[in-house]
C-alpha cells in the first residue's frame, strides 16, 4: 500500500486518503449510488398512496407499463423530443461557433446574446415562452395571424406541441453547445488550416475535410451532454402544458414526477426511474468509448 503512494506525501498513512474523500463520498453514496439500487428494489413492489408497506410483485410494474398506451406515448415523446432538440442544437451551436470564431469587441456582444439563455432558469424561460406561444394573443400567434396562417395555438395541438417546446429548447441550448465548439475550434492548429489554404483548398472544402473531422471528438462529447440534458428536464412541461393535450407533451421525467408526487405511486414511479437510468446509460456510453475521454479525464 505504502509503496503505491505518491511522492509528495510519502509518510501519510493510508486512511488519510479515505478521510479526505469521506465527506464527498458519503454524500455520493447516499444520494447517487444508494438511490439507484433503491429504485431497482422498489420497482419490483406495489407501493402507493395509503399503503403501509410495499408489497413485492416482481415484474408487474414493468408489465403494466409495457401494456400502457400512455407509457408508450411517453417513451416515444421522450425520444422524439431528444431528436428534435439534440441534433438541431448541435448543428446550430456549431454554426454559431463558426460565425463568432474570431476576435473583436462586437463579437463578445454577439456571443453573449447567443449564450445568455443558458444562465436563465428553465422555469423562467418556460414562463416567458408560455406567453409567446399563448393562443391568439401570444407573439407567435400574432406573427402567424399577420402572415395569414391564422392562430395556431401550438401548445394545444398534439402535432405541434413537442416541436414548439423543442424550438424553445434549441434557442436555450445552442448557445451553450456553441462554447464547446468554440473551444474545439480554437484547439485546431491554425497552421493546419493555413497549410490547407496554401494548397488551394477553399473555405467549404477546408471545413468539410479538415475542420469537421477534427471536431468529431468534440461533437461526440457534446452529443452526450445534449442527450443527458434533454432527458433530465421536466421544468418546462410542468409550467407550459402539464403533458397536455392528452399526454402529447408528457416526457419521461415529468411522468416520473406525476406518478410519484401527484399519484403517490412509488412502485410505478421507481420502475420509471429505472427505465430512465437505462436510457441515460445507453446515451452516455459514447463517453466511455470515445478517444476523447483520455484527453478530458486524464
Amino acid at each position: 500500500m505504502k509503496s503505491n503512494q505518491s511522492l509528495t506525501r510519502r509518510k501519510d498513512p493510508a486512511w488519510i486518503v479515505w478521510a479526505l474523500l469521506a465527506p464527498s463520498l458519503i454524500i455520493m453514496l447516499v444520494f447517487t449510488v444508494y438511490p439507484v439500487f433503491r429504485s431497482i428494489a422498489f420497482s419490483f413492489t406495489k407501493y402507493r398512496l395509503g399503503m403501509d408497506a410495499p408489497e413485492f410483485i416482481w415484474l408487474d410494474n414493468y408489465q403494466r407499463l409495457l401494456k400502457s398506451g400512455t407509457f408508450n406515448k411517453v417513451m416515444v415523446n421522450t425520444v422524439v423530443y431528444a431528436l428534435l432538440t439534440v441534433l438541431p442544437s448541435m448543428i446550430i451551436g456549431l454554426g454559431l461557433a463558426l460565425l463568432v470564431n474570431r476576435p473583436g469587441k462586437q463579437v463578445g456582444f454577439i456571443r453573449t446574446s447567443y449564450f445568455y439563455p443558458s444562465v436563465m432558469p428553465m422555469i423562467a424561460i418556460a414562463s416567458v415562452w408560455m406567453f409567446i406561444y399563448m393562443a391568439q394573443n401570444g407573439l407567435f400567434d400574432q406573427v402567424m395571424i399577420a402572415l395569414g396562417f391564422g392562430a395556431q395555438n401550438v401548445l394545444s395541438n398534439r402535432n405541434t406541441v413537442l416541436p414548439a417546446m423543442a424550438l424553445m429548447y434549441v434557442w436555450r441550448e445552442a448557445g451553450y453547445l456553441m462554447v464547446f465548439y468554440l473551444s474545439g475550434l480554437q484547439a485546431i492548429n491554425a497552421e493546419v488550416l493555413e497549410a490547407a489554404t496554401i494548397d488551394g483548398a477553399t473555405g467549404a472544402k477546408c471545413f468539410r475535410h479538415i475542420t469537421l473531422p477534427l471536431l468529431a471528438p468534440t461533437s461526440l462529447f457534446v452529443s452526450t451532454i445534449a442527450f443527458t440534458n434533454s432527458f433530465k428536464l421536466a421544468d418546462h412541461v410542468i409550467i407550459m402544458t402539464e403533458g397536455a393535450p392528452n399526454n402529447a407533451s408528457t416526457l419521461l421525467l415529468y411522468y416520473i414526477y406525476q406518478q410519484g408526487f401527484t399519484n403517490l405511486n412509488y412502485g410505478l414511479s421507481n420502475a420509471l426511474t429505472v427505465i430512465m437510468l437505462v436510457l441515460l446509460l445507453i446515451f452516455s456510453l459514447p463517453r466511455f468509448f470515445s478517444q476523447d475521454r483520455k484527453i478530458h479525464y486524464s
Binding site: F31, T32, G108, H296
Partner: protein, 271 residues
Amino acid sequence: MENIKKYSITALSVLLALMWLIPLVWLVGTALTKASFNMSFLPTTPFSTENLEYVWNTIPFGRYYLNTITLVVVTFIVQFFTSTLAGYALAMYRFKGQALVIVIIFMQIIIPNDVLIIPNFMTLSELGLIDTKLGIMLPFLGSAMAIFLLRQSFKTIPRALAEAANIDGATLWQTIWQVYVPCAKMAYMSFAVISVSYHWNNYLWPLIVTNSVENRTLTVGLAYFAKSKEANMQWANVCAATLIIIAPLLLAFFILQKQFMNSFVSAGIKE
C-alpha cells in the same frame, strides 16, 4: 470579395443575435410597461414599475431571495471544502479502491440529480429533512464536477512547491489550504460560477423538498405564480416576476461574460 464575405458573416451573426434577444427584449419591455390586453413585441404602453411593485408586494420575493442566496452560498462553501479535500486526495495519492471511487464519482456525472427525485425524496423523508434547507442542499454537497475540476488543476501544480512546504514542516492541512488552494484560483472561479448558476436556477428538487415559504426558493415561487390562476393580462406580472429572479445572474453574466463561458466549458468538459 474577402470583405463582402466578412461583412456578410458579421451581418448574419448580428441578425441571429437580434433574433436570440427577442424573448429577453419582450420580457423586459413587458415587465416595465403598463399592462395591456394586447401583447406586442415592443411596448405600446407607457413605462411603469406597477408590475414590479405588484409582484414584489404580492409574492414574498424578499424571503425567496434570502432563501436562494443562503442555499447558493452555503452549498458553495461546503462544496468548496468537500471537493478540495477529495480533489486533493485523487490528485496526490494512488490507493487501493481508487478505481471504485472514480466509478462512484462518474455515476454522479452520468445520472443527474433530478432523475433520482423519487428514491431521494424517500430517503430525505426518512431522514426527516423534508422542508428544510439542509434537505435541498444535501445531495449536492459532494460534487463530482468540482472534484474533477480541482483534481485536474492540482495535478498541474509543480510538486516542488509542495515538497518545499513539506520540508518547512507544513502539515497536510496547511499544504492543502496554503499551497494548493491558492494555486488553483482559476478552477475555483469556474466551479463557483457553475455551482452558483446551477443552484440559483434549480427547480424540480427544491419544488419537491420545500413546502413552506421559509424554505421556498425563487424558482419555486416564480412557478407557483406563473401557474396560479390569477387572471387578467397575467403576462405583465409574470414577466415582472421573471425579471426579478433572473436579473442578478444575468447582470453578473453580462459583466463577466468571458469568465462565465469559459467556466461552462471547463466544467462541461470535466463533467
